[in-house]
């Protein structure tokens, strides 16, 4: 037997078309997806698919048929939400909204890139801005503002600490903080495990 036999023998056969994800779509009122005739208008319209392995139709079909590995697939983060597929779908499926919902489900299961997680957990939650201008690192941007006769910080959450608190309170209330904490814990656990494995290997 050849050494690389794993490479050739996959034994990957879908056993079921029951899908937890599909059920979540239905619960979110997105059961329209079931009207899909797999025409590929979404994939054909997708500017991202022309340069990445992201295939709109295939992603949704995997979600619909129970291939849950789609949640771990980084491809689903390559949709730039340009809504072209949404506009052209002949079955009136809100395709882009489905992708966003799919990402929600992925995040719920802890599948989120570190960069995205940091943006949510550190930047947005802490400052109320997605792209902030406060802090030492951003001094040049404040200076730039001033050079055009604008105050160094805009009249947003940046100059209203109470508004930051208010946003945080809302994020706690709606369960975002818990979600972030859950993911953080999971991420730390994964990191520790990875390090442990590394040491064991050594």
């Amino acid at each position: 037997m050849s050494e690389n036999v794993e490479k050739y023998i996959k034994r990957k056969v879908y056993k079921s078309t029951d899908s937890k994800i599909a059920q979540k779509f239905v619960d979110a009122g997105l059961e329209k997806l079931r009207a899909c005739i797999n025409c590929g208008t979404c994939t054909g319209s997708c500017p991202s698919g022309r340069r990445t392995a992201y295939r709109t139709r295939s992603v949704l079909r995997r979600a619909l048929t129970g291939d849950e590995s789609v949640l771990e697939d980084i491809d689903i983060w390559f949709c730039s939400t340009c809504y072209t597929c949404y506009e052209r779908c002949p079955r009136d499926i809100p395709v882009t909204d489905m992708i966003i919902k799919l990402r929600n489900i992925a995040v719920e299961e802890g599948h989120i890139l570190d960069a995205h997680f940091g943006l949510a957990n550190k930047v947005f939650y802490e400052t109320g801005h997605g792209v902030p201008a406060n802090g030492e690192a951003n001094k040049k941007w404040r200076d730039l503002r001033e050079s055009y006769g604008l105050p160094p910080l805009p009249p947003t959450v940046h100059v209203h600490p109470e508004a930051v608190k208010e946003c945080q309170e809302l994020m706690k209330s709606v369960g975002f903080r818990d979600l972030l904490d859950k993911i953080e814990e999971q991420k730390e656990k994964e990191k520790a495990e990875a390090e442990k494995n590394k040491e064991e290997e050594k």
């Binding site: 005739i37 797999n38 025409c39 208008t41 054909g44 319209s45 022309r50 295939s58 052209r88 002949p90």
Partner: protein
């Protein structure tokens, strides 16, 4: 034993003995609610003497059970709880009649369409609804009275609206059975869409070759009065006796004087797009639709004509047939039956901007491609790119344009002809240009007709046509050569693809006529959700409408190909012939009656009656009161609903009957 032998006399005075028959309808009813419980419950209600259940009461065995009870004198009113009365009321009425019971002593409780099918997921609720519907039917049955059917004569003349392949076939069949036909078409020629087609799938016989002989047969047929360039403007009356007004639009040319020399056409200075060629060629303001048109009559299109007067000159029109002041003419005819065969419109793909139709010259529709392929079309059967009039080296077809589309402006249904016509057009082009690359972008190929699958199979195998599974997402034009660059997904490869072709054909679907509302309003017929005319029953009465005496055929009823259209034409003709052959037809004796002692003569009912069926009479005892002309009355009840002294009642839906249903006893 004849019917009269065993007629059971009911005068309305004897105590009602109601038989209740609850149908399981297989599992349709019995699988949701407990039929035995429904029967037991019905039996507890007053006057119910018999309660039975059976799997299918509409079957012979089921009907026999009812008949036996009637004949044994156990029941004198029959209630069947089953499907919709629109389905089987006639069946059970006949059964009652055969057993000697007056057919109007029958009532139906709809516990399938209105209960077990719509409350499948709530069986308890379905049971309650079914129980109540049976109770309501029993209440009405208790108050039923025997009625005598009305018979009216049927005029042995038929009106066929639309003279495409469907209307023409229906008309010919009607005359073969000996009936006179008025064949009306609003365009200046007969032939319809089929006249625009080149060859027909899957046999590849030429459309004109099979159509033109039919057209001349029509023009020769003395029993067909051909009314082209005409429209039906009013229809009154009822089955067997329709009064029809037809408007003959002015041709602005005296058809008697005109000798058809055609000099006027050459002389006419106005050139407009030719609708017969879908804008791919031009015609003059004075024109004949196409060379083989029947009747071969000239017409001035007044929307484009500037009345310059050139064609009216004696040097141009020697017989002086031009008449700019021509007026429409209205004729009135009486017919017994009407067949509607008004056909379809092609879907307009302009709104699908991503396909560039109307923007890029080399994007055309399927029907335009048909004209390009036609031997008497604008390019005599040698298709070219509109941009440079050169034969294309590559063509892509896109299927389901406007069809199977849930978006606003799209059609949800399958147009049923596009898969085959695209395949046919691709094959036709490939026959002459074997080197050309042909792509058909499809979602599903529907090759369901006789010989269709074989036709499709051969297209790929023998002709090398490339079928790509995927709906084109967008196209753009190559600015250098007007080629069309297509973006799509090849869904079987799961890959985005880009293809450049020289001609892009949109296999546009079929739509109901944009103005089909005018027909439904005129004839009081219904449309189904897709906008096509609604048949009385999707399977068993496919060419009947809910209005007796009016039939539908061809694409006006739903997308279909030529064989199916012709089959329907023959079906509709046979149905119309059946009515006319009998010479008389039974109509339900449901009409208004006036209690003269209560009528105050206010005249409100006269105003509300849409049929002019009520008039004042001078009654010796009651003075000036309203009186119903039963021949005109349709029994709608608009008069009764407004009568402030409750002097009018509607037989079949009497106040007593309705009140007994409303009365809630719990």
């Amino acid at each position: 034993m004849t019917e009269t032998d065993k007629k059971i006399e009911i005068t309305g005075n004897e105590k009602p003995k109601i038989g209740v028959y609850v149908c399981h309808c297989g599992v349709n009813i019995g699988g949701v609610v407990s039929v035995p419980d429904l029967v037991e419950n019905a039996k507890t209600l007053p006057d119910v003497t018999v309660g039975r259940e059976y799997k299918f009461f509409c079957s012979d065995v089921g009907q026999k059970m009812i008949k036996e009870d009637i004949e044994a004198g156990l029941v004198n009113r029959v209630v069947v709880a089953a499907c919709s009365p629109r389905m089987h009321e006639p069946t059970f009425r006949i059964a009652c009649q055969e057993a000697g019971l007056n057919q109007f002593l029958f009532e139906m409780a709809n516990i399938r369409e209105h209960s077990t099918w719509v409350h499948m997921k709530e069986p308890e609720g379905a049971y309650e609804v079914a129980k109540d519907h049976i109770r309501l039917a029993i209440a009405k049955a208790r108050n039923l009275a025997p009625l005598a059917v009305q018979k009216v004569s049927v005029e042995p003349v038929s009106l066929v609206i639309g003279a495409g392949i469907t209307g023409m076939n229906a008309a010919i069949d009607l005359t073969k059975a000996g009936y006179k036909v008025y064949l009306v078409d609003r365009s200046a020629t007969i032939g319809g869409h089929m006249a625009q087609l080149d060859k027909t799938f899957p046999t590849m016989d030429c459309s004109s070759c099979i159509l033109t002989p039919k057209m001349s047969e029509i023009s020769r047929n003395k029993d067909i009065e051909l009314l082209t360039y005409s429209e039906v403007t009013e229809v009154t009356g009822y089955v067997g006796n329709f009064e029809v007004t037809i408007k003959k639009k002015p041709h602005y040319i005296d058809q008697v004087k005109c000798n058809g020399c055609g000099i006027c056409v050459d002389a006419c200075p106005i050139t407009v797009a030719n609708e017969f060629d879908l804008g791919l060629s031009t015609r003059k303001a004075i024109y004949v639709p196409f060379p083989q048109a029947i009747p071969s009559q000239y017409t001035i299109d007044m929307d484009s004509c500037v009345e310059c007067g050139i064609c009216a000159r004696e040097t141009v029109c020697e017989p002086l047939a031009i008449n700019y002041d021509d007026e429409p003419e209205y004729i009135q005819v009486k017919v017994g039956t009407i067949i509607v065969a008004t056909g379809y419109d092609e879907y307009d793909p302009t709104e699908l901007k991503q396909y560039g139709y109307g923007k890029y010259p080399n994007v055309i529709t399927g029907l335009q491609m048909e004209r390009l392929l036609s031997s008497f079309g604008p390019v005599v059967g040698k298709p070219v790119k509109p941009s440079d009039l050169e034969a294309p080296h590559s063509i892509a077809f896109l299927q389901c344009v406007g069809s199977r589309n849930f978006r606003e402006g799209g059609n949800k249904y399958c147009s049923r002809v596009c898969c085959m016509y695209a395949t046919k057009q691709a094959r036709q082009y490939k026959e002459k240009h074997p080197e050309a690359d042909i792509y058909i972008f499809y979602m599903d190929i529907r090759a369901f007709g006789k010989g269709y699958e074989e036709f499709y199979e051969s297209a790929a195998r023998d002709y090398g046509i490339n079928y790509v599974r995927g709906r084109i997402a967008e196209v753009r034009e190559n600015p250098l050569n007007h080629n069309i660059i297509i973006r799509s997904e090849d869904t079987l490869l799961q890959q985005p693809i880009e293809v450049e072709v020289e001609l892009f054909v949109l296999s546009t679907g079929i739509e109901p006529r944009a103005d089909s509302d005018s027909i439904t309003n005129l004839l009081r017929i219904q449309k189904s959700a897709d906008g096509f005319f609604l048949e009385a029953h999707p399977k068993l009465r496919p060419v009947d409408t809910l209005t007796e005496g009016i039939f539908i055929a061809g694409v006006s009823q739903g997308p279909k190909d030529i064989p199916d259209s012709v089959a329907q034409a023959k079906g509709a003709a046979a149905s119309a012939i059946g009515l006319m052959a009998k010479g008389e037809v039974e109509i339900e004796p449901f009409f208004a009656v006036i209690h003269p002692d209560r009528c105050s003569g206010c005249g409100m009912c006269i105003q509300n009656c849409a049929y002019g069926a009520i008039e004042y009479v001078d009654d010796r005892r009651f003075g000036e009161i309203a009186s119903v002309n039963v021949a005109l009355c349709k029994g709608c009840g608009a008069c009764s609903g407004n009568c402030r002294s409750s002097a009018i009642d509607i037989i079949g839906f009497s106040s007593e009957q309705l009140n007994s249903m409303i009365t809630k006893r719990e």
